[in-house]
């Protein structure tokens, strides 16, 4: 054999030295896992434990410091059985339950119209129908209070001028249910549309060949098959509504309808603040959320029996004949109500000198419009400060959260580091904690500590990192899993260490996912209200809280103007992210609420 003849080419190269044979220290993986668990413990576990501690004591953490002496389940039960707490819990369940039902009706019909009929302009309807997902709840609430407040609401004024006897009052339980329902319908839509799209059409064809009528097919085949998707979307939208502060704060408060979130904030705003009670109510909210999230995960896990065959199907489109214009009309009405009307309301309120409208011609009178609210808004130094602060917090959240989520995602999906399951489990905990509860938890974790994080921008950023870490890790893990293992192994064989391989192979290949995830973190951070409420201080005002301040100050013109500024800012950012990630953004805003 010619085995011993050395290559005339490669044999000449003598200056390529072999890498030194060195083994990495066996304790290194343990050290790394320990570090990650410590960081997660600091971000997630410690605040959660402090929240539980707060719920079980009666001492004021600011005045008296933290004592373990009076911890008792009795303190929690006293709060939990308080009539005001039960009333708030009841209101929450009614508002969110009603909102969820409405969302299911709208979302399901919307999904059916878009996926299964030949309604014209389907694609356009589908994409504009998702817009409500990106509207911060507070802005939605403000827009609808401009439209539907009982005395000065634009709708009421217009209907009165038009001589119609109708009257709407959004400052009411039905009002909250309505706004919840129309804004969270896209959640149900996303789940059910996906299920309808992925369904094997032959399942329905088989039913029809077996002699079932189209209605019967829908009732006995289609509906049962997408039921898990419906339930899952329902539970998710319920959970998100439960944690929303902006909508009930604007629509419920004037009618004196407290829900859990507004009640918790009210408790901390009293003098002296009732931090213990707030913590206890927050724990109740967390328990309800946790149970529902668990239920949703179970439903999602059990849906394997359904339809997904890993094949792409062309969904059957029902020919509606002339009725397709009826469904188009319905879709246009929905878009009018959910997109056009609120936007118009904000624009009118933001640019009009006085919101009072004498008659219809005066609504169109251009002399009534101008930039005065915007000028006044920017005269207030807090406006600019809050915008700058929000940007800073957004950058910190994106950088810290991005790095941490990458480290966790890589460790979970790519290594054999010890304690991977523990890290994964701790990472998922915040899924079951509403933003507002994280705010209370961070308040408890840091308010009693002198010279700590409290009062800095960092406490906001860290709370946001904790709040959004599950989604960020999930998104990054998905893009990491798309990188073939052998691409990494090839780099190791070529002589690169783990860090060098990450820098030269993994990061460049995962870049679209990483960029999308971090920009998204930035967006979620600058629009977050629930947790900011408890963590801002005079020097660290952020946009979302400042907007609430303007609203509560009573100047609807400035409120609308600032809402528009935020919407434009978010719109630009979301468009950028969307083009970077091709749709990943949409999926992840979902839990942000």
């Amino acid at each position: 054999m010619d085995g011993q003849t050395a290559s005339p080419h490669l044999g000449e190269i003598t200056r390529i030295r072999a890498p030194a044979a060195r083994a990495s220290h066996p304790a290194l993986p343990w050290l790394w896992s320990g570090l990650l668990i410590a960081v997660l413990g600091f971000l997630v576990l410690y605040p959660t434990l402090m929240l539980l501690f707060g719920a079980l004591t009666t001492t004021n953490p600011v005045l008296e410091g933290v004592h373990l002496a009076d911890v008792s389940i009795g303190n929690f039960l006293t709060v939990a059985t308080n009539i005001n707490v039960l009333a708030a819990l009841g209101n929450s369940l009614i508002a969110c339950g009603g909102g969820t039902l409405l969302a299911v009706v709208i979302g399901l019909s919307f999904a059916w119209v878009v996926v299964r009929t030949n309604t014209p302009c389907k694609a356009l309807i589908a994409s504009t129908g998702m817009l409500p997902l990106f509207v911060p709840p507070l802005v939605a609430g403000v827009a609808w209070s401009i439209l539907g407040s009982p005395k000065t609401g634009l709708l009421n004024m217009l209907m009165a001028k038009a001589g119609l006897g109708w009257h709407v009052d959004l400052y009411s339980m039905p009002g909250m249910i309505f706004v919840f329902g129309i804004y969270y319908a896209p959640y149900v839509y996303m789940f059910t549309a996906a299920a309808l799209r992925n369904m094997d059409p032959s399942l329905e064809e088989a039913a029809e060949i077996a002699g079932a009528s189209p209605t019967r097919t829908m009732a006995t085949v289609t509906f049962p098959l997408i039921l898990p998707a419906i339930i899952s979307g329902m539970l998710l939208s319920f959970v998100v509504m439960l944690g929303i502060y902006g909508i009930p704060a604007v629509l419920g408060a004037p009618a004196n309808i407290p829900v859990l979130t507004t009640y918790i904030f009210a408790l901390t705003a009293w003098s002296p603040p009732l931090y213990n009670t707030a913590a206890a109510v927050a724990v109740i909210l967390m328990i309800v959320t946790g149970v529902l999230v668990y239920a949703q995960q179970r439903v999602l896990a059990g849906r394997n029996f359904t339809t997904v065959a890993g094949k792409a199907f062309r969904p059957r489109a029902l020919n509606l004949g002339p009725w397709r214009f009826f469904t188009l009309g319905l879709a246009i009405v929905y878009l009018l109500v959910v997109v056009v009307l609120p936007s118009l309301a904000l624009i009118v309120a933001a640019f009009r000198k006085f919101l009072f409208i004498r008659d219809i011609p005066s609504l169109l009178d251009m002399k009534q419009y101008g930039w005065q609210h915007f000028i006044k808004m920017f005269d207030n130094p807090l406006t600019v400060i809050s915008i700058v602060n929000s940007m800073k917090v957004g950058v910190i959240t994106a950088v810290v959260g991005g790095i941490l989520a990458f480290a966790i995602g890589y460790t979970i999906t790519r290594t054999h580091a010890p304690g991977r399951r523990t890290i994964d489990a701790i990472t998922t905990i915040p899924v079951a904690i509403p933003g507002l509860v994280i705010g209370v938890a961070y308040l408890w974790a840091w308010i009693g500590l002198p010279g700590g994080l409290y009062g800095t921008l960092w406490i906001l950023a860290l709370a946001f990192v904790a709040r959004f870490i599950p989604d960020t890790v999930k998104a990054l893990s998905t893009s990491l899993m798309q990188i073939h293992r052998e691409l990494e192994e090839a780099a190791w064989i070529c002589g690169r260490g783990m860090l060098g391989t990450i820098a030269s192979i993994v990061l460049p290949l995962a870049r679209p996912g990483v960029v999308a995830a971090t920009t998204l973190l930035f967006i979620l951070a600058i629009r977050e209200l629930g947790s900011s409420l408890f963590l801002y201080s005079s020097g660290t005002m952020v946009m979302a809280v400042q907007l609430l301040g303007y609203y509560e100050g009573g100047n609807i013109g400035i409120t609308a103007a600032f809402s528009l500024v935020q919407m434009v800012l978010l719109g630009v950012l979301i468009t950028i992210t969307h083009s970077l990630s091709r749709g990943a953004a949409q999926r992840s805003v979902v839990r942000g609420g």
Binding site: M1, A21, G495
Partner: protein
């Protein structure tokens, strides 16, 4: 420089299933590859061949045994030695090629040299030579995503050889290519590896690939190395029934061993006729025996006189153009027989004399 590879008593156990069961992916495998030699590990999927290769690469960690390259132990769990892949100075061609899609051909091939901090001038020269070796010199500055499967394969090969590794590992490198390209690259691969003078360990499930490429072939099954020999030996002296079957000896004739000498055995078949066969492993006088035979070794209507002449009854005929496959009943057993040529000479129902050359009948214990 290329080095000798010694794998000693390698064993790797996986715990799988519920309740957990220990399964040996590699069950005490030992072999040695001389410097500059190509050894192919051949076997069905799940036989442990890829796991063995990955243990040599340092990507998997065996439970026990030693891996010694050029006299230095790189894996020795008993002594706490486990050199990470990056420090082993091996080359590896992956099943998926694993060429990095965000780099050009040149960047891919330069990568290992940069990891070794090779001086720039040497880098350029080494890359040029490696690319010339795989005939891709004019593609150096193309993004790899613009290459065909076969070209990516060559990039992967150039990348794994550019730093002249101690040993080249190849994990089913041709399995993702279409049949025609596979044939061409198969021949190229051996030529290129030999020209570079590299020691190579090659893993495949394709027997023809193994025969063309390997200086020696190791047949594996259920984590065990059944036979490691030259292709000629494997095809003409398979060590057991499984290796015989894997090289295409799919016919089985059952019987009982009457008596044997040093090389041959006489086996009484079901029909009572006696068959002369090569003495394989596991045979005992008086005990059950099984003879393996390749369809193409059945000779129809032999001229003259000789041993192992029997009357066969033609049961079916499958004409395939350049050859014909028959099913015949002989010695009380139905076997396949293959005759080359474009005319199908034997009709169904015919009685024909066949010869089963004793050299090609391999007897084994059950």
């Amino acid at each position: 420089m290329s080095a000798e590879l010694r794998v000693e008593q390698l064993r790797k156990v996986f715990v799988t299933g519920h309740p957990p069961v220990q399964k040996a992916a590699i069950d005490t495998v030992s072999f040695t590859i001389a410097a500059g030699e190509i050894v192919v590990l051949l076997g069905p999927s799940g036989c442990g061949k890829t796991t063995t290769l990955r243990c040599v690469a340092g990507l998997e960690h065996p439970n026990s045994g030693r891996i010694v390259i050029g006299g230095t132990a790189y894996t020795d769990p008993a002594a706490g030695v486990l050199v990470p892949p990056r420090s082993r100075n091996l080359g590896m061609v992956f099943q998926s090629y694993a060429v990095w899609p965000h780099m050009t051909v040149r960047q891919n091939v330069t990568y290992p040299l940069r990891a070794r901090k090779t001086p720039r001038a040497d880098q350029a020269r080494a890359v040029q030579e490696a690319l010339a070796l795989v005939e891709l010199a004019e593609y150096a500055d193309r993004p790899v995503t613009q290459l065909s499967g076969g070209q990516m394969q060559r990039v992967a090969l150039a990348r794994s050889m550019v730093y002249h590794p101690q040993i080249l590992l190849l994990d089913e490198p041709l399995s993702n290519l279409d049949a025609q390209l596979r044939l061409r690259l198969r021949d190229d691969l051996r030529r290129i590896i030999k020209r570079a003078g590299l020691t190579a360990l090659y893993v495949t499930h394709d027997q023809t690939e193994a025969v063309v490429l390997g200086d020696r072939i190791g047949v594996m099954r259920d984590g065990r190395l059944l036979q490691l020999d030259t292709p000629r030996e494997i095809y003409n002296r398979p060590a057991d029934l499984f290796v015989a079957g894997f090289t295409g000896a799919t016919n089985r004739i059952d019987g009982r061993l009457l008596r044997h000498d040093a090389d041959f055995a006489i086996i009484e078949t079901r029909s009572g006729e006696r068959l002369l066969a090569r003495l394989g492993s596991g045979l005992q006088d008086g005990a059950a025996a099984r003879v393996a035979l390749r369809p193409d070794n059945v000779v129809f209507a032999p001229a003259g006189d000789g041993p192992n002449r029997f009357t066969a009854h033609v049961e079916s005929q499958h004409y395939q153009g350049t050859q014909t496959v028959y099913e015949v009943t002989v010695l009380g057993t139905r076997i396949e027989a293959l005759e080359v040529g474009s005319s199908a000479r034997w009709e169904v129902g015919a009685e024909v004399t066949v010869a089963l050359p004793p050299e090609m009948c391999w007897g084994y214990g059950p």
